[in-house]
Every structure is written in C-alpha cells, then in structure tokens.
C-alpha cells in the first residue's frame, strides 16, 4: 500500500520513480512557480524553514524573497493579502500551517474571497492549502477536517486528494484555475503513501471522481486517507465474496455526481466513508443527491462510516475510537450487502 498506482484507472502512463505524497505537493509548487512568475507562495514559516511539514523546502532558495513570503501569525492577513494579489493577476498559494487554522480566516474566505466573482465580477485565482486530518495524534487543534465549512460556500472549489499522482496533478490544476481553490492535504499520507507520477507536466481535472476498485455489490464513496482504509476494507470484503466498488471523490466541490450516480445505478447500494465528523458531512449531501436522482435504484439505505460527532481527542485509544477504520467499514458494508 505504501506504493499507490497514482494513475488509478485514468489510464495515464506513469514513468517516474515513486514519490511521497509530500514530495508530490512540493513538486507541484516548484513546477508551477517555475512555469509562471505570477505564482507566489505565502504563509507562516514557508521560507527559510521550508514549512512545518517541509512542503516548501528549497522554494525560497530557488525563487527568492519576493515569491516565497513568510508572514506573521495572521491567517486573515495571509488570505486577504493573497486575494489582493490575485486581483493584480498573480496566482498566490497560501499555506495554512495546519488546516485547523483556516477558520481564523473564515470570514475573509467565505465573505470576501468566495463572493467576489458572483457579486462584482472579480475572479480570485488563489489556492489555500495545508495539512489536515487525524490519525497522527495531533489532538483537537491539529487534526481537523474542516472541508464541509467550505463545501457549503458557493464560489469556492474544494479538493481533497488521496494519492501523490492526484495531489500533484490537482494542485497544479488548482493553481491554474481562475477560482479560489481549497486544497486539503491529509498529513497521515504525507510520507506513508508513495506513488508514481509522470515525468512531465500534467494536471488532474478538478471535479472528477475516479473508480479505484471496480465492484458490483455495493459502492463505497470516500476520499483522502479514508480512501485507502476503504480499499483495505474492500479487499477484506472480497474474501467474503462481496465485491465493493470504491470511488475516490477527490473533489468535494464541485461534486462529481455523474460518477457517483453511474456506480450506484449499477450496484444499487451506497456506503459513504469519511474522516470528517458525521453530522453535516459530505455523506449527508450524497444521501440527498441519491434520494433526488437515484431513489428507484437503491436497494438499501445509504450508510455512513464517519468519525464521531466529537472534537478530535488526543489519546491514541480515544482517537482510534473516534476515527473510522477498516473494521467499521467492513461491518457496515456487510450490513448493507444483506439488503
């Protein structure tokens, strides 16, 4: 599993050496800054230190002080300044040191950045990225999955990749997009996941899910770290004769309804797995979409395997209980398969 065929079922050829998820992020930023002088990086400790997770290591040395900008601990100022830069034709990448801190800039993102194009025809081509997710015992303020705050905000795009291939290709696509894009990097994957990426330039389209494992008995929808856990559960289910189709959503806003509906119309059953907490998670939205557009195709209820509706607890025993895992997914899938 440490090596993921990043190309998935895209059919894209991979010919580079396997790289970590973290390296994929770094390569995407490096290559985009190399390609386009309008791309700058702004955030806390992104310069000399290379970022708390070393995703911007070497960028300052390569691109200089004007393009790799260390900031005070001021998330609203980072987002606001990046938005101003984007109005001048730059394409800033903002790093949130931990994505948990993105909510410090909530107003700036949801009211200023997200609404500009709709209200006064002002595109804000900027990326807001940072390490998210739990499983590394970061505790309640360094483990968040705040994607749904932003999925609820028209004007933003929200990406949450699971493989190095997608991470690199989607980050490049995000930089080139004319809209504000939120890009979540699950920190559990940073050095645990390796995958091949093409040697040359490529992008992965925003808003397209991908089938990671074909199956006919039920559909498992997931993304980010839980995509891997879902695949693991799917392998276990296969031993029981249950063939699950695992779909990696990759982009949460806009959601790829077509891929979801095509799969569910085939399997007639749907399980959604996410590390985000249950209430208000993307699973609820998907359930509503299926009710509206595939009600007659469902042979069972939509089931959810998610984190608990609590803050992320610190102690390993607590956090492991809090998070979904392959066993929980396996049990839910077995239950669903019985319908």
């Amino acid at each position: 599993m440490a090596k993921t065929n990043g190309a998935g079922t895209n059919g894209s050829a991979s010919n580079g050496a396997p790289i970590t998820f973290l390296e994929a992020i770094k390569q995407a930023m490096f290559e985009e800054m190399e390609r386009d002088p309008a791309v700058v990086l702004i955030g806390e400790d992104v310069g000399v230190y290379g970022g708390a997770f070393k995703t911007s290591e070497g960028l300052l040395e390569r691109f200089g002080w004007e393009r790799v900008i260390d900031t005070p601990i001021s998330e609203s100022a980072i987002i606001g300044a990046a938005c101003g830069m984007s109005y001048c034709g730059l394409r800033p990448i903002c790093e949130m040191q931990f994505i948990d801190f993105i909510v410090c800039a909530f107003n700036q993102i949801t009211n200023f950045v997200a609404k500009g194009h709709y209200l006064w025809n002002a595109p804000a081509p900027m990326v807001i990225r940072g390490p998210s997710g739990g499983g590394v015992h970061g505790g309640p303020f360094h483990s968040a999955n705040p994607e749904m705050y932003f999925v609820h905000t028209p004007g933003l795009k929200v990406i949450y990749p699971s493989t190095p291939y997608d991470a690199k290709g989607l980050l490049k696509a995000a930089v080139r997009d004319n809209n504000p894009v939120l890009f979540f990097e699950h920190k559990f994957l940073y050095r645990r996941i390796k995958g091949e990426v093409p040697a040359g330039d490529y992008t992965v389209p925003i808003g397209k899910a991908v089938v990671r494992r074909a199956g006919k008995h039920l559909t498992i929808l997931s993304y980010a770290a839980m995509m891997h856990t879902s695949l693991e559960a799917a392998e276990a289910l296969a031993q029981e004769g249950i063939e699950a189709e695992v779909i990696d959503l990759r982009t949460l806003l806009p959601l790829d309804e077509e891929t979801i509906l095509n799969s569910v119309k085939k399997t007639n059953k749907c399980l959604v797995v996410h590390e985000d907490t249950k209430t208000g998670g993307i699973a609820g939205e998907i359930a509503a979409i299926l009710c509206e557009k595939a009600f007659g195709d469902l042979d069972g209820p939509l089931l959810r395997v998610t984190s608990l509706d609590t803050p992320v607890p610190y102690a390993p025993t607590l956090e492991e209980h809090f998070l979904p895992n392959a066993k929980k997914i396996f049990s839910a899938a077995q239950e669903l398969a019985r319908y």
Partner: protein, 421 residues
C-alpha cells in the same frame, strides 16, 4: 487652510465635494420615493475626507472604499449613475443588482476593489494589492478607509501589522466620525487619538482636521508619496463627525445636541467656500456655474438610472464561478523584467527582509523532521532505495497489502491501526 495648490486643484476639490453631496442628496430623495431597495448610508459632513484623500492618488493607484466613501469613488472616475443604480438594484449597475451601495469595483480600469460589510477585511486585501504592485514593478500606492468602529476589528490589526512588516506601499485613512452606529468612540477605544494605533506597528501616522479639505488633501498627498517612495504604510486619522444616523432609518437621537451643533457649524463645504472666496478662487458666478453643471449632470444620470430595468430573476443563478479564459483572461501587468523574479536571478535580496534572517541553515532535506506525528518515511519500494532517517524503522505496511491473507476480522481490526502507529 493655506494656499499651495493650483487653481484647478482647488476647484476640483470643490467640484467633487459638491458632487458628493449632491449625489447623496439625490439618493435621499430616491430613498423617500422608495426607489432605493436597501439601506442608505450618509457621508454628510465627511465629504472632505473622501474627496481630499482620493484626490491624492494617481490614476494607476488602487483604492477600496467603505460605505461612506462615495466621494472617493467619484474622484476615481465612477459615474453617478453607477452609484444610483447600485442603490436601486438595477441591471445596468456595476454588480447588475447582485449587491448594493458602494459595494462594487473595477479591477481593470479604475482599480477599485469592492468592499464588504465586514469591516477591516480590506486592509490585508489592499496590502496584498500593494505587494503585488511592488512585485510587478508598477510603483502603485493603495488606499482604503476604516472607521473608528472598524479599527477595533481583529483583521484591522492583522492587516496593518502585516502591511508594516512588509513595508507595503499602502495608506490607511482612519475616518474618526466619533460614532460606530450608536456607540461613541470613547466607549470603543480608550485612546484620545486613534492615530496612536500606528505606534504599535512601528509606522508613521498623521492627525488631520477631517473637515478641512485642503489639509486632508495635503496630508494624504504627502503620505501617498512617502508610501510610494518605499517608506512603508502610513496611517492618517481624519477627525470628523457623522452628521446623520448610521443609516436612513436611524434618527441618531443618542447624539448630544451640543456635539451636533458644534460640528454642523463646521460644515466642510461651507468652510471651503469661505476659503475659496477669501482667496478669490471662486466668486458667486463661478459657484453658480458649478451648481448648474452638477444639477444638469445628475438629472441625466438619475434619468438613466431610473430607466434601467431590474435584473431578470434567473440572473441570480449565474456567475458564481469564473469559467476560464472565456470569462476572464487573467494576466499580470509586468512593469519590470520578469527575469528579476525567475531563477536564477530571483534569489535577489528584497529590501524589506530582516538583516541576517535566511543566512542560517534552513530546512534539512527530504527526510527532515516535520511538525509532528509523521516522521516515518514511506516504505521503500522496488527501485527506490530511500533510507529511513534517524535510524527509524520504515513505516508499517498500510492496508491492502497486509489485509487479504488474514481472516477478515483480524485483518480489518489490525491493518489500518497498525499503519497509524
């Protein structure tokens, strides 16, 4: 007021203050005729600030108004009809009915950034515009306004501190009109002079009589040129008074009568007319000509605005996202050689960096420790001889590879947790 401008400049300031007031007077009439869809916010008595500060900017400079800075928009070149139509939610307005009041902008020609109602947000945004302008070699200055009330927001401080740390060419006008809705400034901020806030960021500030348009202009001009010269951001506190309530609905009965009387006797336009008369810059005939020019212009502008339709309902569904080059061609306007910011020349030292910082050791390579939680390297795969750093064991295999051979229960229970260890 002292005489130091050209005659035309003096008359421009007068024209724009009169235009500012006439536009707002007309909107009060429209409001009373129920032709204004939402709220109407007055800058009565504060025209000298909007006009005097914006007049200090060059065409290439950028500004972002607040709700009471209609005068600044007019100086920057916005047509009165656009202000009327914004308030009337008309389809021909700059936002085509999607937002009202001064909430509109123009990135390409006038260089105006639209405000939002959450105060202070414009400060980091205009800092970013200033930084981008510097990066692109445009030699621009950016300006925005904040009230006494807005100066207590968190983002005011984040933004101004960041502007100061970056030495951004940015001028912030702190329009102290003594009231934030119904709360007097003394109940908001325990400072005599809000300009003192600048000390906290190590930047320079000015205090100016906000009802003296020449003083406002001269101060702003000096600040703008200092910012343009690279001296960093500057804060100007303009002291004035909000003559109307927060908006049309508010009779502002909480304002002491003596305070109102004091300020009404210091009307900025009347003060300026006395100055212009004493300096023989404007006589009764000249004044009448300006009034007629404004009245004629505004009648036409109002007619255009009233004749504009409301937006069609379905228009509400459009424009959430930029759809690409067909929608907006986003191109930075470079006014310096791009080679200066691309390798190998891009490592040139910027003037606003801290001496010595960066000369030490930076990050430590591909396997440098990261913040916490995950210092394990990925499992080396075939053809990949990455060594584990610091003698740590390679990560446990995660998931699928380990799972299938065991019994389902055992695999499911252990596999992902093992990986998380």
């Amino acid at each position: 007021m002292k005489k130091e401008l050209t005659r035309q400049q003096y008359l421009d300031l007068y024209y724009y203050m009169r235009l500012n007031r006439a536009v707002e007077d007309m909107m009060v009439k429209l409001f009373r005729q129920n032709k204004i869809v939402g709220g109407l916010y007055s800058s009565l008595g504060q025209e000298a600030i909007s006009v005097g500060t914006a007049y200090a900017l060059e065409k290439k400079d950028w500004l972002a108004p607040m709700i009471r800075n209609i005068g600044a928009l007019l100086v920057k070149g916005v047509r009165p009809r656009d202000v009327f139509m914004q308030h009337m939610a008309k389809y021909d307005s700059p936002t085509k009915g999607k937002d009202g009041t001064s909430h509109f902008g123009d990135l390409d020609d006038l260089h105006i950034v639209s405000p939002i109602s959450m105060l202070g947000d414009l400060i980091p945004v205009m800092t970013g515009v200033a930084m981008a302008g510097r990066y692109l070699g445009q030699k621009i200055v950016t300006m925005t306004w904040i009230g006494d009330g807005g100066s207590s927001t968190g983002v005011f401080h984040e933004g101004l501190n960041f502007a100061a740390a970056q030495k951004a060419p940015f001028v912030l006008i702190l329009e102290n009109n003594l009231w934030a809705y119904s709360t007097p400034v003394r109940k908001q901020v325990p400072l005599q002079n809000l300009a003192d806030r600048a000390k906290a960021y190590g930047i320079d500030s000015y205090i100016v009589d906000g009802n003296d348009v020449v003083a406002v202009y001269s101060t702003a001009k000096e600040a703008v040129e200092r910012a343009r010269a690279g001296e960093g951001p500057i804060l100007i506190e303009a002291k004035t008074f909000r003559r109307q309530g927060h908006a049309q609905h508010d009779a502002a009965e909480y304002v002491p009568k003596e305070m109102r009387a004091y300020w009404e006797a210091r009307d900025p336009i009347e003060l300026y007319e006395k100055f212009l008369a004493s300096e023989k810059l404007l006589d009764a005939k000249g004044k009448k000509e300006i009034e007629e020019k404004i009245n004629t212009r505004l009648a036409a502008e109002r007619e255009f605005a009233e004749n504009s339709p409301m937006p069609p309902a379905e228009f509400a569904e459009t424009g959430v996202y930029c759809t690409g080059d067909d929608c907006h061609k986003i191109r930075a306007k470079w006014e310096r050689p791009i080679a200066e910011v691309t390798p190998p020349r891009s490592s040139v030292k910027a003037v606003w960096t801290v001496p010595g910082f960066g000369s030490g050791k930076g990050s430590g390579g591909a396997n440098a420790p990261i913040h916490f939680g995950d210092t394990q390297p990925a499992e080396p795969s075939a053809g990949d001889e990455t060594k584990s750093p610091n003698g740590r064991k390679p990560a446990a295999k995660i998931a699928a590879k380990a799972a299938p051979k065991k019994s389902v229960k055992a695999a499911a229970a252990s596999a992902s947790r093992k990986a998380r260890r």
